[in-house]
Structure formats: C-alpha cells, structure tokens
Amino acid sequence: MKAGCHQQQNVEAVLFIINVCLFGGYQLTELQVCHVCNGTVQNGTAIGQLCSASAGLLDGRCCLGRRENPSDADYVLGLDLSNCSLNYVDRLQEAATATMIDLSLNPLVSLDNLLFEGFIQLRHLILPAHLVCPGGNASWDKVEVKGESLYCEGQKDICNQTGHLSLTCPENSLCDPDGPGLYECNCVGDFHGYKCRRAGQFPIIQVLGPLGASTVLVSILLWVTQRRKVKSA
C-alpha cells in the first residue's frame, strides 16, 4: 500500500492521499473515492435510501453493490461527497458505475468537462447550486435548483437525440453514450484499428504457406532445369 501511495503522489497531488494512507489497507478492494472525507452515508439522504432499497453495502461515503461472483470487487452504486469541504474534484473514475452522486454543500468552483466521462449509468447528480449540470441542461431530463443544491436528473442518451447537434461519427463507427453530454465513436462490427479503417484479420498462414511453398518449388525446378547445366568456364 505504501508503494501505491508513492505512485499516487507521483501522478498528481490529490486530496485523497492522506485519507488513502490513513484508511487504506482495511480491505483488499479498497475504494479510495469512498474515503475522501470522514463520515458515512446518512440513512436519511437520497443515497442512503438508494442503498437500502438496492440492498447495497455502506462503506465510508459510498454505497457499494455486490457482484454475482464473490471474487469480483464491489462496485460503487452511489457516492455521497456532500459537505466534504472539497475545493475541486478531479478524479472520480472509481465511481464510474454509480447511478447517484452527491457533491452538494462543497465550495466547488467548477467541474472539469470530462470529469464524468464514462458515467453512463449516472441518473441523479446533486451539485452546489452555482454550478451547471455537466454537458449542459440539454443533456438531462430534468434540472432544478432546490435550496443550495442543483439537481440534475435523468441522463439523456446523446446519440439518439433529434434536433440536438447532429453527432455524425466518421465512417465505420457508431456513436455510443459516454456520460452526460459525452459520446464515443466506436468501430462497428468487424472494423478495428486507427480510424476504424481495418476490417478482419489478415490470413497470414494462407498467404505465407502457398507463397513459400511455390517459391521453393519453382526454385528447385528452375535450378534443376537451368542452372545445373551451367558449364563452368
């Protein structure tokens, strides 16, 4: 865990570090994001309700869902980082599976555009009221301000929208949602590689085999009929 701690430091100065080093090592599948700040998910909050409804496991600021297979790690269902005195948030990737995230009551200045990249299941996001919902209001079914909090509800599928900016992915690729207001262009079907320009696998054996065999054959044939008859001067 110590090594992991140093690695973290090398990558970037994160506010999680102290928490990780203090609370880390309790369990193998430690999720750092759940221990960004002290306390646990409160029963009365939306995330508390979600957790009890879906029989999730509370762990620090997280509600964890269990996988079918016991050897698989738990995954984050909900994340409650409200009232954590966070000035900024720059890493949430561990919570990419969450359906509900609460960042309210924090002195956040702004959020990075790509912070929620890959958060395709996120349906409820609570932010301080002075922020805007990621991807803009058009990326959410319902946006409303209640007290000091901004509620972004129901993420829209940006790829299936009409009337919105037309998202034409390049040839051989299709649009896939990739979080609020974000999308990916992924290669379709057999296509792969840079710019999805390649299709299928090159049949290397079927090419090399006959080519090598015929080269050897023709070489032997010609050697016997031609060069063997060379008269050395």
């Binding site: 690729s173 974000l182 710019k195 090419v207 080269t215 070489s219 010609l222 031609q226």
Partner: protein, 503 residues
C-alpha cells in the same frame, strides 16, 4: 524484315523461355510494389493524421482511435509529403541507374538482380509494414528508406534488359521485345490487384504482400536465371555478325517500336560480349564512347529530351496520383479507385503498340507523335470534366492512357534508338547508350520535379489546375519537337507525292 513466324520461334530453347519469363516477372514484381505505394496513399495519409473535426466541436473520442497519430496536422500536409516521397524516389532512381549500371557491368548480373529485388523488398517491408506494426512514424526515416528503395530498384532495369539482350538476337527481336515491354504495365495491374485485395486488412498488409512476392521473385531469380546463353554452352552467333552500319538500315524495318529495350539490347549484342554494356548507364565508362556533351548536341537529342521530360511528368503523375485523385475527388473507395486506374495502363499498352506499328508503316515517328499528343490534350480536357460515373471515367482513362502512354513509350524507346543511330554517329558504338541515357535521364528528372509540382498545385489550387498543368506540359512536349514534326511531315508528304507521280 518482319519476323518469319514459324522459323524464328524454332531457334528458341526452353532456356530462352525461362530467361524471358524471369526477366519479365522481375520487372512486373518491381513495378507492382511501386504501384502499391501509389495505391495506398489515402490509407497512409489517414494513418498519419488525426481526424479532421469542426473547430467548434470537441475532438472525437476515444482519442486512441481518432486523434492519436499526429505526424501531419491534416491530409493536405500528408499529401504534400507523399508527393515529396515520389520526387525523392524518382531522383534517387535516376541517379541509381548510372551507379547500378557500373556495378552490373563488373559483377554477375544474376547477383545484382537478386540484390536489387530482395533489397528493395526488404526496404518496402520496413517502410510500409514494420513502421506500422511498431507504430513508429518518422518523416526522416521514411525519406531515407525511399532514397534507398530508389537506388535498389534502379539495379533491376539495366539487368533485365541486359539479360534479355543476351538471349534474344536481332531476328524476331521486335516481336519478342514487343511482348516483353508490357512488363511495366502488367506490373501496375498486378500491383493494383494485390493492393486492392488486401487493403481492407490495413495498408501495411498491402506492403507486406507485395514485398513478400517481390522477395520470392528475387529468390527464384537467384536459383533459376541464366544470364546468358554462353552459360549453358549455347552461343550468340547470330547476333555477333551485325555491324553498327547495318543497324541504320535496321531501324527502318517494321517492328513494334514501343520498346525501349530493343535498342539497348542491340547495343549489347552488337558488342558480342556476354558481359553487358547496359543501355542508359555509364556511357563514359565504355571505350570509344561519345562524350556526354557531344551526344547532347546531336540533332534531335535536346528537343526529344525536353519533350520527354514533359511527357514523362504527365505519365508518371498519372501513375503516382491517379488512385488518390479518384478516391479524393469522387469519393470512391480506395479499392474501387485502384481497380479503375488499371484502365490507364491498359490504354498505355494498346496505345504504345498501335502507334508503334503505325509509325513503322509510315517510317516516321514525329507526325504520329504529334497527332497522339494533340489528342492527348483533348482527352485530358475530357478527363478533367469526367462525370462521377465509373464506366465513363474508365473509358476516358483508357483513352488518356492510349494517347499519353503511347508517345511516352515511343520516345523512350524507338525514338531514342533512332537518335542514337543517326548519320553523325557512325563508328561510335556507345552513342546509343549515351543518347538513351540523356533522354531517359532528362525524362526522369522532369518526372521527379513534376511530382513536387503536382502536390503543390493540388494543395494550393485544386485538381482542376493540376489537369491544366498536364495539358500545358503535353503542349510543351509538342512545342519542343515541332521542328522535327514539320521536317518529317514535309518529307512524308513529298514521298507520297513522288509515289503518286510514279503511279
């Protein structure tokens, strides 16, 4: 003097056939791999550039798929670089022809030929396949490899011509060389076919397949080629007797005059040696050779050299840029464009043969040339306005190939031979090589410079201006030979008048 059909085939053994096929396919494979490069330009330029996206919109995600490679900012820059690579290749090829001729003279032709084929196959593999597999894109590496490729490829042409010259003597040479000279065009067609059939797996496999096949060809040549009948105890008796004086008369016999090999090989066999003085190479090396400047000032050499420079520019621009133009301008798939570009070669084969025959019948080259070039200008205008229909485009392409490829072949071969055998030269055996070298060399330099201009004009002014450039160049080649056209047409007309009076 036309080849007596049955008798002349009987003099050939299976050794002749094998030598013919090996030299033919050596050059076919070489040209096929050259064609591959021009046919995968769109794929390469896509691989080297990030995806172009509207400024207001965010870049496509995931970055690894759409934005990772930034060797060039956009496809226009990549196009410029690809044009520069063609230029580099042609210059080093032109220089290499002189060097490799000297080398080929002093070493076994078989070794040089194998070295050229296999070496260039390896370079192409590194250029197209290995760099892609390693994801290592570097313009200096690409330039260096392509210079090396030009030098290695230049070793092949003098060798195959020399071997052919050793095996096939004067009788029936016109016929044999007529068939043989289709090798470049056959190579283009084979290359287009190979490239289009594996391009969907990625451009690196187009390079892989053509370089593998070329390498295999080199191996087969090494084990199978007899460079001269002398090696198996057959002799060259039929070719040694001919004196240079006879060649003068000989140049007027009917032959398929679109083969440049014919004249070079004449050189070879007239000498009667089996170590060859290769055509357009090292004129200064040979004994009794005419000086470079002296050859340059021979009547007709300068006009034809300049005319050929213009024509080879257009011809090679089609060779290098056609598939790229088709897929860029009409939005056709690269494989479709490659298949369509074959029609230019088909037109060139037919055009060279027919125009050569006609000029043989007339006994004059320049008037045929002038007519064909005039029609070429017309067909260029027509082609530049081609509708986006593949059938119409293919037909126009074949016509353009007919009128441009034909004269191009004729100047580089039959006319070079005519010039090298003119009155002023009698007694100097090596003039033919020098003259051919000057004409071909000037042509190659023109072609090399042209590749730069084409990419420059295309990126600055668009494709239409490229076609205007081609039309001007074709007109330029008519202009350069106009004195010869006038004198030859006059004698032609006078002869006809005289004949009519006799009747």
């Amino acid at each position: 003097m036309s080849p007596p059909c049955c008798g002349f085939l009987a003099q050939y053994t299976h050794h002749h056939l094998v030598a013919f096929l090996l030299t033919f396919f050596s050059y076919v494979l070489l040209h096929a791999s050259r064609k591959t490069f021009s046919n995968v330009k769109v794929s390469i330029s896509a691989q080297w550039t990030p995806t172009v996206q509207n400024v207001s919109l965010p870049a496509f995600s995931p970055i690894k798929t759409w934005e990772e490679n930034k060797l060039f900012a956009d496809s226009d820059e990549a196009t410029m670089f690809l044009g520069a690579l063609d230029t580099i290749f042609l210059f080093s090829y032109a220089i290499g022809l002189y060097v490799s001729g000297v080398v080929g003279d002093r070493m076994n032709l078989r070794y040089v030929l194998t070295f050229g084929l296999c070496g260039s196959a390896i370079v192409e593999f590194v250029f197209g396949t290995l760099t892609e597999w390693l994801q290592f894109y570097n313009i200096y590496l690409y330039c260096g490899l392509w210079v090396l490729n030009g030098l290695l490829q230049s070793a092949v042409w003098p060798c195959v011509v020399a071997v052919m010259g050793n095996w096939f003597g004067k009788s029936g040479r016109g016929f044999v060389f007529g068939i043989w000279s289709a090798c470049a065009s056959v190579g283009n067609i084979l290359g287009a076919f190979l490239a289009s059939s594996v391009l969907k797996y990625g451009y690196e496999y187009a390079f892989l397949v053509t370089s593998l096949v070329q390498f295999a060809g080199g191996v087969v040549v090494f084990f199978g080629l007899l460079t001269s009948p002398k090696e198996v105890g057959l002799c060259l008796e039929t070719e040694t007797g001919l004196s240079p004086v006879e060649t003068d008369r000989d140049s007027h016999r009917p032959l398929m005059s679109d083969e440049e090999e014919e004249d070079r090989s004449e050189e070879v066999c007239d000498g009667g040696y089996y170590t060859i003085q290769q055509g357009d190479t090292e004129p200064e090396e040979s004994h009794k050779a005419i000086g470079f400047c002296q050859a340059f000032s021979l009547p007709g050499v300068l006009p034809y050299s300049l005319a050929y420079a213009c024509l080879k520019l257009v011809n090679y621009s089609f060779f290098f840029w056609l598939p790229f133009y088709l897929s860029r301008n009409f939005g056709w798939k690269e494989a479709e464009a490659d298949r369509l570009s074959v029609w230019y070669d088909v037109g060139g084969i037919v055009g060279g043969t027919i125009q050569g025959l006609v000029s043989d019948c007339l006994g004059k080259r320049a008037p045929v040339l002038a007519l064909s070039l005039l029609l070429a200008m017309g067909s260029l205008v027509g082609y530049s306005h081609s509708p986006p229909d593949q059938v119409v485009n293919g037909a126009l392409l074949a016509a353009t190939g007919f009128f441009i490829g034909g004269p191009s072949n004729m100047i580089s071969s039959a006319i070079s031979a005519d010039l090298g055998r003119q009155e002023a030269l009698r007694g100097s055996q090596e003039a033919l090589a020098t003259v051919t070298g000057i004409v071909d060399g000037t042509g190659s330099i023109g072609a090399a410079a042209g590749q730069y201009f084409v990419s420059l004009i295309e990126s600055k002014l668009g494709w239409m201006c490229v076609f205007y450039f081609f039309i001007v160049m074709t007109g330029g080649s008519i202009l350069f030979i106009s004195p010869l056209i006038i004198t030859e047409s006059r004698t032609l007309w006078r002869d006809r008048q005289a004949r009519r009076r006799q009747l």
